[in-house]
Amino acid sequence: MSFDHHRLQLQLERILPTVQKPGRYVGGELNQVLKPWDSVETRVALAFPDIYDLGLPNLGLAILYQDLNARPDVLAERVYSPWTDMELAMRNNSIPLYSLESHRPVLEFDILGITLPYETLYTNALNLLDLAGIPLHAAQRTEQHPLVIAGGHACYNPETMADFIDAFAIGEGEELIHDIVIVYQAWKRSGKPRADLLLALTQVSGVHVPSLYQPGYTDDGLFTGLTPLHPLAPRKITKRIVAQLPPPPTRFIVPSIDVVHNRVAVEIMRGCTRGCRFCHAGMVNRPVRERPVAEILTAIQTALKETGYEEVALLSLSSSDYTQIVDLVDKISKHASENHLTISVPSLRIESFSIDLMDKLKGSRQGGFTLAPEAATDRMRATINKPIAAEQLLETARAIYSRGWSTIKLYFMIGHPSETMEDVQAIADLCQAVLSEGRKIIGKRASLHAGVSTFVPKPHTPFQWAPCDTPEQMQAKQELLRRELRGPGLKMTWTSPKDTLLEAWLSRGDRRMGQVIFNAWQNGAKFDAWQDQYRYDIWQAAFEAAGVDPAFYTHRQRAEDEIFPWDHINPGVRKAFLLGEYRASREQIFRADCRDSCFGCGILPTFAEIRRENPGKHWMCPEVPIRKVKKPLEAVIS
């Protein structure tokens, strides 16, 4: 083995004092798992393709880390992107990408699992492969290289990264990761070529191996579908889900340096029943499943003991919708006030009930109270299916200001389908109205922060047929808001149109984007999610060199019968349902919370077996009755 651990330690000892935040690159934190290298059959590197500070708190990887390390035959270690200063030092000193636990080169692992929760991490993923010494293109890898798998929300459209990933894990990873490890182990023992591993992986439900498919396009460049290149490659890949949320991780790694979230995070519920038409997470994370209160409380107690953390976050897409939220918050708040704990409950709905909840937590009012109306006119609210009456928002705002918060943060999105300048003006008017309510109550101390992002039509949502605003439209809308939202007590933040365009290209791309991403990486694109690192010019040149028109992906209204590059991925929600929702949005028809009445999105037929075997209220979908076994016809006749 070429790896010289001692030499790496000596190199690091000299390099680390010269880089920013060297604590990112050493590991050794409380609760890290370091197993003897030779004590296991399979070694997995789990990578978050951005810096440690962002990657360490990622809950998805924390779950996989715990689950994999719980197996006696597997070890899992962590990998993050080095910041530019450390990358330079590593390249100058020929230090390959190494894991934080054992400081082993990633090349020595069996499996490299990369999480891709959002699209602007793609060039970083390529950079990680390069730093690891792994060929960027999946086709160039051999039995000597780790199996490169990717999972996470961005992978619901895997075509964009198809050139670089051996296998995508679609959906929830808790059970899927073990199936992948089992297939890998059997292959490794067999000594067969790599192609056999890839083929075996296609037989795992939820795994997609892109190299076993050939994409087709019309002369106009429209995607015509994927052709399987092997009889065993399935035509559709259905995402994996867990029937019941397993007990949450508690033994969190506690970083020795400051990172974005220093806290115990407990997912109280997965999925959302509200059906906002722009929301990718709301569509791909169905069905809604809740964790029991007792399980959450036990997990918090254990995690606090294991970590010593002083903050707990209750995570979900819509915390107010967790059916036992009052009971849960009551029980936690008692414990919190006695122990100097901070409890945070993000994603609260716009209603006074949310303020009651926050009141119970007696937390600091410094950070402000955050609400996400997303749109400001009734027409837009009906379009996106997020109905909140203006008066209800004002009433909530009054309650917030009068109960001790001086700042309200409102999140809006511009660029929704059919949005006009009047709809944008209404955002400014609504912000002004909220602030003036605050002034009446607490005077000049009242402040309002408007966070205005720009809509990107995401795959597997009702808006997947809609075009993205042009940069000119985005600019005009942002200028209007900047002009209107000026003055004391007002603050506005927005997304640069160039950032939005990149997000749109990458999330709506097909396999031809692979060459664009590769070109961009080769010319230095990385950390695209960082405003000060993102280089629009590099991307423009990358498109040009690849002969691909970026506007094709962003500003084109799709025909209702267009075949999308992500149609082979089945998130459980049917395309016909999404189209129905798209049509409903154009007629401004509201769809109520689907807990009250099922609209047949497709989740139940897809996962009917699982639901039938897991009846009960933890799923928000209706129950599937036990099928009456029909006697075969012959039996009836005779």
Partner: protein, 210 residues
């Protein structure tokens, strides 16, 4: 309330953890050990954990000092040690715990000097090193600039001697560590004509006023 003076080693796992982050780690260490740390009064109560003197990033230490205040008068130092030993924290090795009077002035205000060991990474000629040290100590002043501020390093060096460690020649030095006059061992290396990145630094002692 009791005030415990902790003497501890800061080892490899926390080598790249700065002083602010170390404060948080102590808080978590005490929480895990179920020791009832006292909180300051006011709108944003803070745990009462006071470090003697910040240790530069990348340094190891054999003798850090911190005062922690606990809301339980019945605890003896041995109870504190037992509780911390039961829930060890990577990078902190407790050497000693003793009770000190609540009325004593703050730990930071009593620090006089710090003793450091600098072990060179590369082989180095001991005679040459000794010569450089002799010359340095003979100089009446050592004008240096750090973070755009000019200062004289010489009066901050209380002692400096060549010694041999496991890895070869090393320097042992006692530097002033008063609030307005703090000497840094990398500066001493630089004044001796080395790169500040040529050695591993370990604090070996913090000297307090009586």
């Amino acid at each position: 309330m009791i005030r415990c003076r902790m003497t501890y080693q800061k080892t490899e796992a926390l080598r790249y953890t700065g002083n602010l982050d170390l404060q948080k780690i102590w808080e978590r260490f005490l929480r895990r050990a179920d020791l009832p740390v006292a909180y300051s009064q006011g709108f944003h109560p803070q745990p009462r954990i006071q470090q003697a003197a910040p240790l530069p990033l990348g340094f190891l230490s054999r003798a850090e000092l911190a005062d922690i205040y606990l809301d339980d008068d019945s605890l003896a130092p041995s109870d504190v040690v037992t509780a911390l030993d039961a829930m060890p924290y990577p990078g902190i090795e407790i050497c000693n715990v003793e009770l000190v009077d609540l009325s004593l002035p703050s730990l930071a205000s009593r620090v006089l000097s710090s003793e450091y060991l600098a072990e060179f990474f590369d082989p180095i000629d001991i005679g040459e090193l000794t010569d450089r040290v002799t010359k340095l100590l003979a100089a009446p002043s050592l004008n240096r600039t750090r973070r755009d501020k000019a200062y004289d390093l010489r009066p901050l060096i209380e002692s400096l001697e060549v010694m041999t460690s496991e890895s070869g020649p090393a320097l042992k030095m006692m530097l002033a560590a008063r609030q307005s006059a703090t000497g840094r061992p990398e500066e001493v290396l630089a004044a001796l004509g080395f790169s500040p990145y040529d050695a591993r630094y370990t604090r070996t002692r913090i000297l307090l006023a009586d």
